[in-house]
Every structure is written in structure tokens, then in C-alpha cells.
Symmetry: D2
Subunit: 345 residues, 4 copies
């Protein structure tokens, strides 16, 4: 189904080459400062055509707010937003009406849904994620008001065999956006860019990983036993198109899992919880930074098929705001859930 969240909910709609994509956000309290510009800025970070390493499809992706905001603030009513599809060269995809692209969802989707819109993947297109970014922008507006210390940032931490070292605390989105690859390690970013241009020329592609780090998380977010912060993030992140794994803790978690518990759990000198927990214990945020690595498959649109449509040789740079949006939706939802129940001793 196409609704995400319990108390703070986003419902998305739209086929890649239909009239429009959009989202309805329900459950946002009133009085949250929000404008179409806030949402537009979020979309601009995801939109195609940003650099040489992304798809050539050119979509302005202009958002219009239809409801839920009045005089610059949310009304506590559903907020609907739409983005018209403009650069929809369906002709490029004409032959897809009868042919399933290997590695894509075409076949299984066709068998399940029987009647489908073959143009550009229809609802299975990565374009669907722009709706999530709309939802994330509203979630972030709420979090800015209610949890201003929150610093929710994702970055490209791996492309193919190229793996970035962990950035220092306090990383900002501006620092991430400084390079088109969205890898905050300047030297590695250059190597990644070169690798991707090479892949693009060859009709090839790369996967890798995005790391999400959320600093300033209030302790205690999560709803055990089936709404743990861990499970909600896993649900949110694994639901993104090309994601093939979600791993908490630091970049070397797989290595750390080979250790005995006495080493794994050994307290650092400062007595604070170890970062092996990824900021989550007992399903609740523990007040430390929440950190999770999201693994992405390489895009399956290759060679001829890549030329037939338009594609990204690597979706990671543009997936960064999508990962952030899904995480923001989870935190906004769990924040409202936290407020809903006044636990007392």
C-alpha cells in the first residue's frame, strides 16, 4: 500500500509518465512554518539533471501545494502537493510496452498487476521517490520546530569498490552537497566521479552504500516491541527501490561482529554507549547518534536499454535526500507517538 506512518503519515501517488506525481501528508500538527519553497528546495536536491554523473532526463519538478498550509503555516489538515510530469518522452519507452527489461521489476509487476503503465516503469520508476521527498520536507519542518537540535544527514559512503572513511561529527548537508557525488571525502569524491563518468560512457553502472547519521536524537524514541526505532527505520529504508541491505553501527560493523561480546560491548573510556549500537538499544534511541548504512544495488538499466531511456549510472547521489526523507518521516512519526503517551513513574 501507499501510505507510510502511523501518526504522521504520507500517502504517495503517481506514475512516471502519467499526469503528475504527488503526496498527501496527514497528521502534521498546525502552526508549523512551511512554504512551497521549503518543499521545492528538498526536491531540487533529488531532481534529475543536477550533474554529469546523474540522468540526463530534465525535469524541473516544480511543486504546488494544494492544501494544508495557510499564511505560511500548516493548518493541522492534510497537506497535498503535486509535481507535474513534463519531460515524459514516452516514445523512448514505446518498445517497453511489450518487452520486460532484465533486472527490472517489469516482469513481476506485469504478472501481479496484469494491467500496467509500461511508460518509464510506471509506478515502479525511481521517480516515485520524489513523493517521499515531499513527505520528508514536511516531516523536517515539524522536527525543526519541535526537535531543533536534530541533525539528520546522509552521505555517499561507498560506490562500487570505493569506500569513504567516516566523516567527523557535525557533518552538514552543505558539506555533503559540496561535491556532485555527495561523498564528503574530497579526495575519494574525485575518484568516484571519475569512475562514474567512465561507467556512464560504457553504459555501465555502480551500486554502493549511503550512510545516515542522526545527531541530537532525544532518548527514548521507538515503540516496542513491533515499532522499535530499528524496525521502523529498516521498514522505511528497505522500501526504497534499489536498497538491498540495512546495517546499524559503524562502517566496520561486519568486522565487529566477528569479535567476542567482551570486546564488542567494552565501554569506551568516556563511559558513553559504544557506537556499535547505532544509537539504538532495546529498540529505543539511546541519546547517541543513530547511524545506519544502507546498501544499494547498481542500477539495472544498462547498455542498449540505458540508451533507449535515460538513466543514472549510479543512483546514490540522488538517493541521499530520499534516505533522509524516509528517516525524517520515521522520526516525525515516532516523535508524535512519544508525545501521545505520558509515561509516569
Amino acid at each position: 500500500m501507499n501510505t507510510f506512518g502511523e501518526l504522521f503519515r504520507v500517502t504517495t501517488f503517481g506514475e512516471s509518465h502519467g499526469a503528475a506525481m504527488g503526496a498527501v501528508i496527514d497528521g502534521c500538527p498546525s502552526g508549523v512554518a512551511l512554504s512551497a519553497d521549503d518543499v521545492q528546495r528538498a526536491l531540487d536536491r533529488r531532481r534529475p539533471g543536477q550533474s554529469a554523473v546523474t540522468t540526463g532526463r530534465n525535469e524541473a519538478d516544480r511543486v504546488e501545494l494544494l492544501s494544508g498550509v495557510y499564511e505560511g503555516k500548516t493548518l493541522g489538515t492534510p497537506l497535498a502537493a503535486v509535481v507535474r510530469n513534463q519531460d515524459a518522452r514516452s516514445g523512448d519507452y514505446a518498445k517497453l510496452a511489450t518487452e520486460d527489461r532484465p533486472g527490472h521489476a517489469d516482469r513481476v509487476w506485469r504478472e501481479r498487476f496484469k494491467h500496467r503503465d509500461p511508460r518509464g516503469g510506471g509506478r515502479t520508476s525511481g521517480r516515485e521517490t520524489l513523493c517521499r521527498v515531499i513527505g520528508g520536507a514536511v516531516a523536517e519542518a515539524l522536527l525543526r520546530r519541535d526537535v531543533p537540535a536534530l541533525n539528520l544527514v546522509a552521505w555517499v559512503s561507498q560506490v562500487g569498490p570505493l569506500i569513504a572513511p567516516p566523516p567527523p561529527p557535525g557533518l552538514t548537508r552543505a558539506q555533503v552537497d559540496a561535491h556532485p557525488t555527495r561523498c564528503p571525502d574530497a579526495a575519494l569524491a574525485e575518484r568516484i566521479e571519475a569512475r562514474l563518468l567512465e561507467a556512464k560512457a560504457a553504459g555501465d553502472s555502480y551500486g554502493g552504500a549511503i550512510t545516515l547519521r542522526v545527531e541530537g536524537v532525544p532518548a527514548g524514541l521507538g515503540e516496542p516491541v513491533f515499532g522499535k526505532l530499528k524496525a521502523r527505520l529498516a521498514d522505511a529504508l528497505a522500501g526504497i527501490g534499489a536498497v538491498t541491505g540495512v546495517v546499524w553501527g559503524g562502517a566496520d560493523l561486519e568486522e565487529q561482529l566477528t569479535w567476542p561480546g567482551s570486546r564488542f560491548h567494552a565501554l569506551p573510556a568516556d563511559g558513553r554507549p559504544r557506537d556499535v549500537y547505532g544509537g539504538i538499544q532495546g529498540g529505543l534511541s539511546n541519546g547517541e547518534p543513530v547511524q545506519v548504512r544502507v546498501l544499494f544495488k547498481p542500477p539495472a538499466t544498462l547498455a542498449d536499454h540505458a540508451r533507449a531511456g535515460r538513466h543514472d549510472p549510479c543512483i546514490l547521489p540522488r538517493a541521499v535526500p530520499v534516505v533522509e526523507a524516509m528517516a525524517a518521516l520515521v522520526f516525525a512519526d515516532l516523535w508524535l507517538s512519544f508525545l501521545a503517551r505520558p509515561h509516569r513513574s
Copy 2:
């Protein structure tokens, strides 16, 4: 919250040292063959005291069915099951009332819920997972009736640095249960057992991985875009206590993510989808075996604290039926969802 699933739902309850643990399963159709023995057999695979490598806590974990079954078949009404807590030596935990165990959820739980049952971790105890096994047993009864070809099996694929090779297709639970470690590779199983006995003696522990493989999955299960099979499994599995990662595809997925797309997506000679997809494309099962690796932290109960209570040096062997139960709940739920909507061309 404590309910999992949309159409096939389990609601769990119980504190580790309270009167009882239990579950209510709602949404199971009528006419499914089910007895208390079926549920008991599932619980017996999870219960403590099964071998030298698990906890010494001795709980018979006898289940009683209170409703929902009549003359050996489900009624289509809620099925409630309870397991009384017997071996509740709360005295062992007396000091925990005032002291938070490092690496445990004690502190964050106490800060969030203010009033808590400190005995044995209360609701945060791994004992909570027996309720999930009850739910899984009912889900499997439904799947046996409606999807008899399904073969849903999990096994211990890694303990600390010891990593098992992939088992051949058609692996059975009997083969997995043949060794107390639940590692189906006989030689590695011996080494794992030795390592765990050593850790137990030293008051130490190990994490690792459980791999889940589901053969015979009908193509098309999943509800895009927010109820994809991938997301539902991630939610289900990441919600298990010590889980710290969920990765689709084969054991070498992290290695495969360093490859270019042309290699990653290259079709095998037989033209079938690659196992790098873990049996899921576009969020739907693609008819191939669904395979996912679940990463577990080592238990945090060590040394003195281990001696104060009773503990497993490695929870992986006993977590195998829990992983299977959560997966069965997901498949049962998505199966009913599949039936609910007659898609046509």
C-alpha cells in the same frame, strides 16, 4: 506497539517474570488444521535449556490455547495462547531493580517508561520472542494449507569469525536441528560448539548471522510502494532484539556490491534471475528463493551479570525459530493481501 501485521496479525504480551507470556492471532481464516501440539513443537525449538550452548534457565514453556480453535481447526476468530512463566527466580535479578546492565536496554527503557518491571528485563527480555513463535506457528499452519510448496528455513550461518558455506537447495529444518548450534555444516558446527562452550566458561559471548531462505514462494507477493516484501521482512527481522542488520541476496552480497552493474546483473546461463536480488524485484517476490541474512550482536550479558542471571553465550541457535516465525508472519500477511485484490488485465 505490540501488534504485527495488517490482515494476519499477532499481538503479543508478557513480561519475563510476570504471570505469563502470550499472543493473540487475528485474521487467520477458518478451517486451518491446528492443535496446541503444533504450537508446542514450535516453542520447543526455541525454549531454553535445549543444550549446553544455551541458557541454563529451565522453562517447560507449555502453551495453552484459549480460543479460536474448535475440533482441531481454526474458527476464523482470534486465537489466544498463553505460556505461564515458571522458572522465575526473580531473586537473581533483585539488584537489577536499581542497577542498569551495560549494553542492555535497561537505562533507555527506564528513562522512557519511568515505571518498569526490572525482573529479568521485563518486557525487554528475549523471552518476549516466544510470543512471536506462537504467531509464526499459526502463520505456518495457514501457509501449509494454502501454499504447501513453501519451504521456509533459517540456519546459523555465522558465529563470530566462523562463517558457514551456503547449504544446497532444499535444506530442511530437520537438517538444521541435527546439531545444537543449528549450523547445517557439520564440520563448522563442531567448531562453533567448541567456541561457544569456551565463551560460556569465560562469561563471554558471540554474535553472528542467521540466513533465511524461502523456497516455493509464489511470484508477486508484496504491496508497493510501502508494503514491499523487502520492507515487510526488514521490519519483521530488524524488530528482533539483537538484530543489527538485514542484507538480501547471497553471503557474498557485500563483495558483489563492489562490482559494476554489468557483472552484478549478468544473467546466469539458465536465464533465470540472479540470486543477488534475494528473490525480490520491484518489491515483489520474483518466484526465485527469497534469501536474507540477519546480523546479530553478541549478547550483552557478560561475566558477573551473566552469573547473576542465566544467559546464552550466543542466542543464534535459539533465534533460528524466531527468524522463521517473523518471516512466516510476513508471508501469511502478504498472502492474504494477495488474495484480497483480484487484479485483472
Copy 3:
């Protein structure tokens, strides 16, 4: 919240004088014949300005489908529809920004939501119901495909003191629409019209009742114990703005409740269930016509306030398609729920 339904869901949005109203329908199977014209026809039955007895506000209420339909059939993906607000003379409502209209939701809404859109009642406007009609049109398209014998018709059965006799079985919407009052009793319809024109001239208003009758309902729809057909309809109908009561059975149910059970339950000569049950027993449809009477308060916009904006002296004629839409949503949802669980002996 603004989502209705479990498996077949509608999410609505829009303020009376904002940019647009709209709805997202999720969970409709693919392959259901549907066009924008189908939805438009439903909206035309609800839109203002249809006759002398309704509001003078003139809204074309043109619907645009943004997603979910391709080549005249649903895709199994979310269907989004929007209607632009055109005749939004907010100036008429300028003074409402600071003044609460008596009998309206203005005060409680303002106190709850703190920040509100005062223009025309904002989200509390009856205009919100057009979104429900969109949802109902999609629900009816599904029901036409899957339950073609269903005949779901509502009519105005009471206006103030004027009460219509029960119409014969097989009543059609065309018969109901034959008179602008939507009272199918021709003689009473004339008296109602005269009464309403008089009230309009006097700045006064009337309430009354709409009766809903659904013939051809498959037996067994409903999900006990909290999703009974009765409860789902009550939820759906009591959620319409001015509704103040929901009563099953025939027009004389209140009279019949004074009878002893031996008379109330006495079987008719033909041995079929009595219509006192309103077609529902044990929370499930019993195969007989489902019948329910929906009581409506008179509109609270009177005299000066009526002149400041534009209003209906009686909302009943225009509420008929809204009652039908909410009922259709319930039946579509319970129909999918019925399919989801293959009960067997």
C-alpha cells in the same frame, strides 16, 4: 485523520477556499473500468447550484485524474483526483476571520487547531464531502465489476415534519434524481420543495433524514467483532458533517422498539428475515436489503450569516450522493476483506 477504509482506502484533502480539493484512493485492484467522466458524473450529482433549493455558490467542480488509471482501466496503484476551487469569494467571508458563526464548528475548531483557514469554514466546510464522492465513484466502479447485482440507492425520506412513505423495491437513482429534492414520492417532493423555497426566502433551514437501501448485497460481509457491517456503516455515515443519528431497519423502527420480542422477531409468512434487522445480523449482511436511516440537523447558517456567504436551506438533496459514496466505500472495503480470507469447513 483523513483516511477511511482498511483495504480500499480513500484519503481526502482540501480547504473550501484553498487551491483545490481532492482524494487519493488506494487499494483498488487493477483492471477496473474507470474514466474521469465516471467520477465527474458522481460529482455533478453533488455540486452546488443544481436547483433553486440548493446553494447559489457556483462551482463547476471539474475533476482531473492525476494517476492510477491508464487506457481506461485502473492500474492497481493509487488513484489521485483533484478539483480546483474556482468560485472562492473569500471576501464574503472576510469577517469570519475574527468571528465564530453560532452553531458552526468555528469555535471548537479554532480552539483545537489554533491556526485555521477561516475562509468558508476551511476544512470544516461541507465542500469537503466532494472528496468522498470521488472515493465513492471509484468504489462503485469496483463494485460494478465484482458485485454487479448491487443496487445502492439513497433518497430524501424526511424534511422537517414532512416524512415520505417507503418506496417500492428496485428504486433507481434516476427515479430519485427525477425531482430536485431527491424525494422519490412525487406528491411529497412538491410539498418539500415549496417548504424549502419558503425557508430560503426567510433565511431559515431544515434538516430531516436520508434513507439508504442496498439491494443485492452478498451475505456475509462484515468483520466481527469490531468491523461489523453495522459499525462500519455507522462510522462512515456519522462522520458526515450534519449527521446526528443512524438507525437501522425501516422507517418505523422507533415504533417497533416498543414491541415485545415475540412480535419484533416474528417471521413474515415467506420465512425470510424481518426487515427490522436492516439486512444485518451478527454484524454480517444477511442477504436481505441493507437499510439504514441517516438523520441530519438543519444547517446552522441562517439569516445574516446565510446572506454573508451562500448556503443551502437544506443539505439533504445534495447529501444523497455523499451518503451513497460513504456506503460504497464501506462495501468495497468489506468486499476486499471478504476475498482476503478463504474460510473453509
Copy 4:
């Protein structure tokens, strides 16, 4: 399905002659004072065998709390409660295995669920409502802590043709319970009792109405547009077995609906909202007493069938705590929802 509520949820289970009935309450915050005695007292008001005008079935209905409470206060974890079925003379019902009782749900339930427990109606028995009373007792414990001014009281306002005048404000449950009929008008109560004893002797039965009045409701409870207080109460109350109507406002609402709006909405001299609104405007509580009348069919178990089992000639006296319980569940749920969203200007 068998779960009611969004944030404060009750899940019920149990067949009339199975092992036990019970409920799991999820979402109650921690620190709420609650004991098994609190729940027992609520059950004692509903249990059979209280007086000559109720069923002769004798069930002690002793409740046991299995989880969720520790040292006299809730833990913020699911609270499970069970009541063993004791006086289950299934023999009385033996013939029902093959015979459907007229006026009962037997036939439709059998056709829908195929396999059913025929003993005493199984899940369709009115005995199911004891689970709702358990849920209501927990909801009331929360409301006592958080909304102590709330006074939620229901009473028998009509039995057959005998209709009670409205009681004065501040009515208490003790006053209602003072007479076995639960009609607070002493004179009418005597007449009702006589009428019911007569009906019982004749194997006959009566329906009527229960009125619910909730004083001290905070203004603003409800979640428009589909979770209005009105809709949530309608859902809750119409879901009770024999309920056949739900009407807001005073006892003479049907009469008031014949009035023009100018009279219906005329403000009383004190300027407070009219009680015709039943304490609800725009779907939100308006700060005035919430009042709703719940219409009940006469029991269908008559004559021979009445003698075969054991029955109430009128379920209204025992339904009073059920109505209160369902209402308390709605208010607790909407209260948490109110807290979840900090609306600001």
C-alpha cells in the same frame, strides 16, 4: 477484526463455551494505577445472575491479569486479562450444532465462516462483551489519572414502550445501579421490572434504549474528517451486538428534527451551545456534555430456545457497562491522539 482503537487499543478473544474470554490492551501509558480489583468491579456490573431480570447463567467471571501491571501500576506494555468460562453447559446447546436459531447470527455466521463453534453462539455470544468491559476498565483508569473531571455514565432510558424522563446533571453510576433495571427514575424502574418479569415468565423479551452522557469532556477531542468524535462513538456503539441505532442529542431529537433551523439552533438564554448538538460540533467535543442514545433490539432468544439455553428477557441493564466501556475506549483513544499533536498558532 478484533482490535478497536488507534493509540489506545483493545484486542478481544474468546468463544462463549471455549476455555476463556479475554482482552489485550495496548497503548496505555505507564504509571496508571490499576489492579485486578478495578477490572473485577467493572466485570461484576456486567456479569450474569445479578438479579431476577437477567439471565440465570451463573458465571463468577473472575479476571486474572497476566501482564502489563507491576506493583499496582501499568508498565506501558500490553496488559492481558483472561476470564475462564466456567458454567459452560454445552449440553444445553447440543442441538444448536445442527439448527440455526431464528433472529440470531447463526445462519449468516455459519455461511461465512464455514467452521464454527455452535456452543452458546460461540464468538457471536453476548458474552464477548465482557472483553470490552475489561478494556473499558483500563481506559477508565487512564482517564481517571489524566481527565479526572470526566463523568461518563449510561442508564436505561427506555424498555419497550416505557420511556424515562432525562435525569438531572451529575448522575452517578451508584444512582444508576441502585435499581436492578439500571433505570434511574425510581417509579419507572418499578414498572420496567414488573414488565420484564412478566416477559421472562412468558418466554418473551424487550428492547429499548440506553442513554450515555459524558460530562467534563475537554473541548476539542476528535480527529476530523474521518475520526470525528461522532464517528468514533458511532463505530464503537453500533458494534455492540443488539444495537440498532445511535442518535445524538436529547431524548426528543427526532421531534427536534421536525423544527426549522431557526428554532433548532436558537441559543438558550445562557448563551451556551444547545444540547441538540449532543456535545459535538465539527466532529469535535464542544465542552458541553456529550449525549447519545443507543437503540437496542429485543433479544431473539425466545420461548423454546430461551428454555434450551439461558437468557436475559432484556439485555439493557447488563449492556449499560458495555456502552460505558466502549465510550471510555473512544475517549481514551482520542485523548492520546489529542496529546500526540501539539497544535500551535
